[in-house]
Structure formats: C-alpha cells, structure tokens
Symmetry: C2
Subunit: 212 residues, 2 copies
C-alpha cells in the first residue's frame, strides 16, 4: 500500500476547490460590471483562461453559477467590509460599518463598486431564487447596522427615542448613493459627502452632553 | 395632380413614428427589468408583436436602440415626475420633486422602478456613450433639485447657510434607496420611511421661526 491512493484524490479535490474559487472570484468582479445576467460559462472561461468544459464542470446551470457568485460576494463583503468593523461595538461599530463600506468603494475593490448594490438594482423588478438570495444578504446588512444602533441606544450612546429603523435606512441610503455616484461620474466628491452626512446623521441622535 | 402623393408618404411617416414610439415605450419598461443590456431586436419583436425586420428598420444598432431608450425614459420621467412639480417653486418644488419621484415608484409606473436608478447601477462600472447619456440625465435631475433648493435659499425659505449640494445629495439618496428597497423586498415601508426622512431633512434647513 502506498500513499498515492490517498494523496492523489485529495490533491485533485484541492485543485478543484482552487479552480472553483478562481472562477467565482472572477465572476464576482465581472458581475459588478456586466451584471449577474452577463455571467456565462463562455465569458468566465475567457476571463479565467480555464476551458469552457473546465468551468462547466463546477456549475450545474447558469443559476447555480449565479447563486455561488452571490455567496462568494457575501464572503468578500464580510471579509472586507464587515469583519474590520466588528472589533468595535455600538456607535463605534455603526460608524465603522459605514466607513468600511465607503472605503471598500473608494479603493475600487471591485470594478463596478458594491456587488450587492449592483445586484439589487439588476434584480429589483424580477422574482426567483437569485433575487431572494440577494435580498436576504441585503437584510443581513441592514440587521448588522440595526444591531449596532440598538446596542448604542441600550448603552446610552444614542438617544433612547432614536428611530433606529429610520437611522439605518438613512445611513444605508447615503453610502449606497455614494457608491452609485462615484461610479457613474468617476468623482470622489460623493464619497466625501456621504462621509460627512453619515457623521452628522449619527451625531443628531447622540445625547447633547456627548455631542459637544 | 391629386392629393395622394402628399398624403401617402405622410401617413407612412406617422405610422413609422407610432411604431417607433411603441417599440421604445416597451424598451423602457423592459430595460427596467432586464437591463439596457437585455434589450435586443429579438426580445423587442416578441414583446411588441412587431416583426424583427420591423424593429430593425427603426434602429441602426443595439447602441442606437439603447440610446433612444434612454431618451424615451427621459421624456417619461419629465412628464411623470418633473412636470407636475414645476407648478410650484423653491421649497415647495423641492418637496414636490421628491414626492413625485416616490409616487412614480410606489404606483409601479415601470415594472423595475426608476429607469435611471437601474441604468446607473447597470452602467456604473463601464465607459462609453450609453453611460455618458445616463450620467447626463442624472446630473440634470440633481441640477433640478439644486435649482429649487437654491431658489428656496434666495427667498429665505431655507437657511442662508444651507449646504445645498449636501441637502440634494441626501434627498436623492433617500428617494433612490426607497426605490431599491421597495422593489427588492416588495415592501412599501421604505417609501413611507423616505417620505418622512425627506420632510425631516428639508425641515432641518428651514429657519426656526417657520419650522415651528
């Protein structure tokens, strides 16, 4: 008995996983420019240099590829936007999440900006599992902002009568509008404007003794 | 000499214009769901019941069709959102423009909501004449809000030190976020939230004697 029968399949599996990751990383970038509809086995084969059959081996259907792309975008968003903000809590986390999002856009992490902003706009008028997956991710993002704001209210960093749902709606609106305008006009002004507006909107709910 | 040689070509031209309008009205609706990329001679032929060659006769290329679709969406936006607000001036016009936009979305005028919000998100990561046309329309919308706000400042309806660019950025962010969330979650709450936020954001810049 040699080691090969054990090692070989494992190496194949790892190579397969690496290839799948490579395809999906490319798919996330591509989808922010061409849309989730613009993803195809053919364009991904061209973009990754992997054969069409090689790409096809990893995904049963276009929808399977699109859903996996959404999940990969989620992982990237968590790693790049969410995780850095989780070191802080309450009002600091709320500010960090907004700043982290703006920084993600500003440094052009993805060529078409926020994946979920693009996907939400693309799928808004439709129905189906892909829209549901994007909507669920968007709810998770709003939940994250809401939890941070509620924690801030609980520990007195924000006024007890803060309308948290309204605050979170406004903060999300500001950072997403910055993403859209930054990309559409190739102009950083909207990022700076959103930064100032986020600070002011949060400050408006800070008890006056702290607001200084 | 009879009337026919004059009348016949004229009728043909009118029929041609009517067909072109019909194709473009369908294209605007379709583009809010399938994207400007999703427009094709084939899908438009199916959607309008006009033959492919009939559709093709009106547009030199896909880009020509897409640009004409943007222009048609502009006409619709002006008729449905802008025109009703032009009866008022200053702060009333600013409020009317925001309300008109929210009402346009809420009554599902187009199946995929605001054409320009969808197009801006679709084209954000690209370059070219189509993106430039959408960006120009978006600038016109911001200019319209800005002119109304500046007029409101001039006549003392808004505080002299109002940061108009910031105010307009916030108002646009709120109504566009309502459009996105309304469509993504099939929920009217974001519309109501944007309505309340728009009122509050404008009121924050109203001189305190009037704000009462």
């Amino acid at each position: 008995m040699t080691a090969e029968p054990v090692v070989a399949p494992r190496r194949v599996r790892l190579d397969g996983q690496r290839t799948r990751h490579q395809i999906l990383d490319t798919a996330v970038r591509l989808a922010t420019v061409e849309g989730l509809d613009g993803l195809s086995i053919g364009t991904l084969a061209t973009a990754t240099g992997i054969s069409k059959s090689g790409v096809y081996a990893h995904f049963e259907s276009k929808e399977d590829l699109q859903l996996a792309t959404v999940d990969t975008a989620r992982d990237l968003f968590i790693a790049d936007v969410v995780a850095p903000a989780l070191a802080s809590e309450g009002i600091a986390r709320l500010r960090a999440l907004c700043e982290s999002f703006l920084h993600f856009v500003e440094r052009r992490t993805l060529p078409g900006g926020c994946f979920f902003a693009a996907a939400a706009a693309e799928l808004g008028g439709r129905q189906g599992p892909l829209k549901a997956r994007v909507a669920a991710n968007q709810r998770d993002w709003m939940r994250l902002l809401t939890d941070a704001a509620e924690e801030a209210v609980r520990c007195g960093e924000l006024l007890a009568d803060t309308d948290v749902a309204m605050l979170v709606f406004e903060l999300n609106a500001l950072v997403v509008a910055a993403n859209t305008a930054f990309l559409l006009h190739d102009d950083e002004t909207p990022i700076a404007r959103a930064r100032a507006a986020v600070a002011r909107v949060i400050m408006a709910s800070v008890p006056s003794a702290d607001a200084g």
